[in-house]
Each structure stands twice: as C-alpha cells, then as structure tokens.
C-alpha cells in the first residue's frame, strides 16, 4: 500500500487538470488548471463550498471521470488516457470509495455487499467470504455479516460501506462526505474509524464542506471556483486517534 510512492513520484499527481461541462452552448469550468500532488500515507481533506468543484475533483481522483485537459497520474499511470474498462480496473485495484449515501445494495447481506469489489476482481468465493469477514471485523461489525442494510443503523451501514472500500486493500480511500447523512455519534464513530485506518498507513482523501471535520486532517486543500484557494499543512492532529486530537 505504501511504497508505491517512490521519490519524485507522488501517489497522485495532477498537472494542469481542467474539467469543463457543457450544457447546450454554455460551458462551465468546474476545475481550472489544478496542479497538486498527494503522497502515500497522507490524510488529506478537500474542502470548499458547494459549486467549488470538489465533487468534480473527487470524481477525477476516483477515476469515475476523466479530465478535459491536463494530466492525472495515479501511482505512475497516466489515467487520463484510459478507456472505460481500464478505468474500472484501476478503480477496482487502487481505490476504495465511501459515499455520503452509503450506496449499499439493499437486497444483499452485509458480507455480500462487502465482497462485491472482489467479485469483479475475480477472487474465488471462499476467499471472498473470508476477506469480507475480515473487513467487517476491522470496522467492528463481524456479528452483522448476515444482516441486510435495512436492518442496520446509518452508522453501521456506513461502516459496512467502509469495509467494502477496505476489502480490496486499496491504495487510497476516497470518502465523499462520509458523515453527511449521519447523526453526531455515528459521525464520531466513522471519523474515528477513518483516523485509525490512516494510523495503519492508509492514504485517505476526505471530501467535506465541514471545517471541523477537515480540521482532523494533516493537510487541507481548499477549493474555490474550480481553483486551489489554499493548501495548508495541519501540523497537529491525526497521527493518533482523531477523537483525541480535536482542536478546541
């Protein structure tokens, strides 16, 4: 997981990335010439008001979309040239997604949801079940294997989603407003879990519009109007459990 970040080659490297959407004759630039690098093992928060382009940036970082112009290198691969099938492969191998809406399949049990990325990777069924159980154990839900999402609380559902993101041992976790649909105690849980995962060496990118959540990250990238408005290193927190290091 670490070690991919060889010197001079950050895990993620954006060079002059621009993304424009056109609806009819109107062209809207969601991202304008963004250049940044993120290294393996970092816990980075991307913040900004709605419309600042952070969702678009997240889609590009997650290989769900490709830039209109500029280069995006992920672990040394020039992703902007990849086709749909290759992007699917890159997502499967490098990225674990955590969404605001959880996006669990209601008709599958917790472990069947968690094993999903492994199904597309071609892992055999016995190993899938084992790895799904391990991932659920890591998020503290080993006893909820056979529960369907409808039978779990919001916080538990998000933890199942995190287990699904972890099960492939991805190079980075991409969390898009992971606490946006959770109450405060579940938020606390989920952020704690992400901090633990970071402490274990995982690269995590957290997209949020809440400053106090971003404050737990070591590095905060603030977007405004499709450009990087500020890129600050946060010296204090997040090497240990996030909840012990909440600034006043």
């Amino acid at each position: 997981m670490t070690g991919l970040d060889v010197p001079n080659h950050p895990l993620i490297e954006l060079v002059g990335v621009t993304k424009t959407y056109s609806s009819g004759t109107l062209e809207v630039a969601a991202l304008r010439e963004i250049s940044l690098a993120i290294h393996a093992g970092e816990l980075t928060a991307i913040i900004g008001p709605s419309g600042s382009g952070k969702s678009t940036l997240m889609h590009i970082l997650g290989c769900l979309d490709v830039p209109t112009a500029g280069a995006f290198r992920l672990a040394g691969h020039d992703v902007q040239d990849f086709d749909e099938a290759m992007l699917a492969r890159v997502r499967n191998i490098f990225i674990g997604f955590v969404f605001q809406q959880f996006n669990l399949l209601a008709y599958l049990t917790a472990w069947r949801n968690v094993e999903l990325p492994l199904v597309y990777r071609g892992v055999d069924p016995d190993e899938r079940r084992e790895r799904a159980r391990d991932a659920l154990e890591r998020v503290g839900l080993a006893d909820r294997m056979e529960h369907r999402p409808g039978e779990l609380s919001g916080g538990q559902q998000q933890r199942v989603a995190i287990a699904r993101a972890l099960v492939t041992e991805p190079t980075m976790l991409l969390a898009d407003e992971p606490t946006g649909n959770l109450d405060s105690s579940s938020t606390h849980d989920v952020l704690g879990l992400l901090a633990d995962l970071h402490a274990e060496g995982n690269t995590i990118i957290l997209i949020t519009h809440e400053a106090d959540i971003a404050a737990r990250a070591r590095r905060v990238i603030e977007l405004r109007d499709g450009e990087v408005a500020r890129d600050t290193a946060n010296p204090g927190p997040a090497t240990t459990r996030a909840d012990e290091a909440v600034p006043a």
Binding site: L64, E84, R89, R91, N103, A106, Y107, L116, V119, Y120
Partner: protein, 410 residues
Amino acid sequence: MTWRDVLHTAADAVRSHRLRSALTMLGILIGITAVVLTVGIGQGARAQVQDDIDALGTNLLVISPGSTTSTAGVRGGFGSASTLTEQDAEALASSTAAPDIEAVAPVSTTSASLVNGSDNWTTTLTGTTSTWAEVRSRRAASGRLLNQRDAADAAAVVVLGSDTASELFSGRDPVGETVSYNGTTLEVVGVLEPLSSSEETTSNDVALVPLSTYQQRLVGGTNRESVSSIYVKAASSSSLSGAYQEADAILLNNHGITNSSDADFSIATAEAALSTAGSVDDTLTVMLGGIAIIALLVGGIGVMNIMLVSVAERIREIGLRKAVGARPALIRRQFVVEAGLLGLAGGVLGVAFGVLGAFVIPTFTNLRIELSLPAAAVAIVVAMGIGMIFGVYPASRAARLAPIDALRSE
C-alpha cells in the same frame, strides 16, 4: 467475474424484485403456453387423421362422380353428376385391363328409415355387391355377408352394421328377423363386426343390400344404373399408383373422354385424403403458430419494457457496481443474463401451464392434444433466448451509463 457469479447476481436480482419478475415472466408464460398448446393441437389433429386413414385402409381408392361439362360449356359442381355406373365398376374389375386392381365395389347410398315393429332407425342404406366386404376389409359378426346370388336374384336381404342392429333389435341377434323399408320387407341375413375406430358412428351404422335390390326394388331414381361411388382396392399399397392410373384410363375410355382434364369423375386415395387433411392442419398450425409468435413477441417486448424500468430504477446500483470495478461488459452481461433467467422461468412455467391445459382442455372440448417433449424443450430454450435478445437493449443502456451520473441520481 465468473459465469457462476453472473448467474448468482442475476438470480439475486430476480428474487429480490418478486412482483416485477412475476409480471415480466407472465408475458413469456402466456406465449409459451400458447406454443405448447398449438403444437399439441397440431399433433393431435395429425394423429387423428392418421388414425382415420389407417381405418380406411391405405391401399384404397375412392372414385366419385366429378364435375360434368354440358354442351353449353357449363360445368356442374363436384359430385353433382351421376356419371358412374355399375358397368364402370365391372370394367375396373377386369383383371386383364387392370392387373393392379384386386377388388372393386360399386356403392349407392341414401339415407333411409328402417322399421322393426315399433322401432325405427335412420341409417345409411347402401346398395353394393358381394365384393364390398373384401374391399372395405369387413367381416360378419353373425350370419353371413352379401353374396353373388343375392345380387342375381335382387333378393330382399340386408346386412346390418353393429350399431344399426342394436338400435333396431336392442341386443337380440337379428339374423333371421326382418326389417322393412318403404313397405318392402327385408330379411336380416347378417351383422357386421364392429369397427373400433374413431369413425365408429359411420362405420358401424349402415344397412347393406344387394345393389340390384337397391336399384330395382328400393330406391330407383332416374338413372338406375348409376352409383354414388366406386371403391377400388389395389393389390397392395405399392401398386396403389398403378391401380390409380388403370382406373383413370379405363373410366376415361368408358366415358369417351380424350382429355383427362375433362374427366367427369375424381379418384381419391387415402394419401390424397391424408395430404388434404395435412394441409388443413398446416393452415391451422400456421394460424395458431402465428398467434403464438405474436404472443411471444409481446412477451419479449414486455421483458424489454420491464428491464428498461429495472435499469432506470437500479441506476445507483449500476453506478456503484461500476465504481467498485465492474467493466461495462460485465454490467451488460448481468442484465442480459437476468432477462434470460426471467425468460427461462417464464418458459418453464409456460410449459407447465401448457401441460395442464393439455389435460384439462380435452375434457370439455373434442380437441385432441398430443404433447411433444422436444417441442416443450425447444419452447423453454426459445423463451430464454427471447428474454436474452430483448434484454440486450436495456442491458446496453445500463452498460453505457456513466458511473458518476448513475451515482448522482436520486
């Protein structure tokens, strides 16, 4: 992702949307039921015809009076003339002119009411010769059949069919008793052995009298020499076409007709009857088959419709599957397999309903339905194929969805 995983995923999706799956299957189910019953009815009709032909005998020719052409050029309809005569029958019986013909029986028929005391019964009074029994392969159950002496004497004797005998004599042996027709008393000399074919009613309800008696004493008419039809038995089924040609030539010659297209008679073979019946049932099969195909098409469109709804409804699921690494091809495969599964299930249920129908329908109609195992197997495969074919378009739409659009949708 292995095929097992694809199947498993599709089966989960089918199971988890029960009502929608059931509705999708319904269209296919109706179509397949229609197909199974159509094929069953077609095969039933064919089997029925085959049975009838077997009862008739495969080396039999039936010559009927045909259309006539008057001097004014007006053609009478089929069977409207009484162009066949006893002399024609005698000529056909000649073993030198017609070596392939084994036996000939001229027949004149009319509907007649026979009376025995207070009982009366309407049957087919048939005037024929002693050769009739040989030609039609019939035997006497009691008493005797007509002989040449009866013909020579124009004797007032009658041989009854088994049903006729039991209607007039209610179970008693009628041999030696008498029946009367139009004031003429006829002595019952024999009763035919019943035929157990499906044509029972017409084969076993008959009253045979010598042709001479029929013409001179019972029916008469304007042309006493004419007969209703002539039965010809070929020496064997392989000499049937020889017998056909000989009969045709002799009759044309007898009637002084040079152009065979002007023939005033027609010769029917059992094969001709079979092919006529066959063409009737082909028409039926084409018609019912058309209905079945339309039903299947509608079923297929139903599958497409519901799969499109399913894709729209599961747009987030598709987005998520793509986000975690499903290639477009795998998404397409999943939905095609899902549609195929729905088709397969509809097909299996359709065959089940078809089989049920095949048992239930004949109990309140006279339709004969013969189930065919290969047809059922083909129907199931076709149902699955239809599901998959009509699933391709919705599946391709699913595969083309951009993952972000799919995830973003509420």
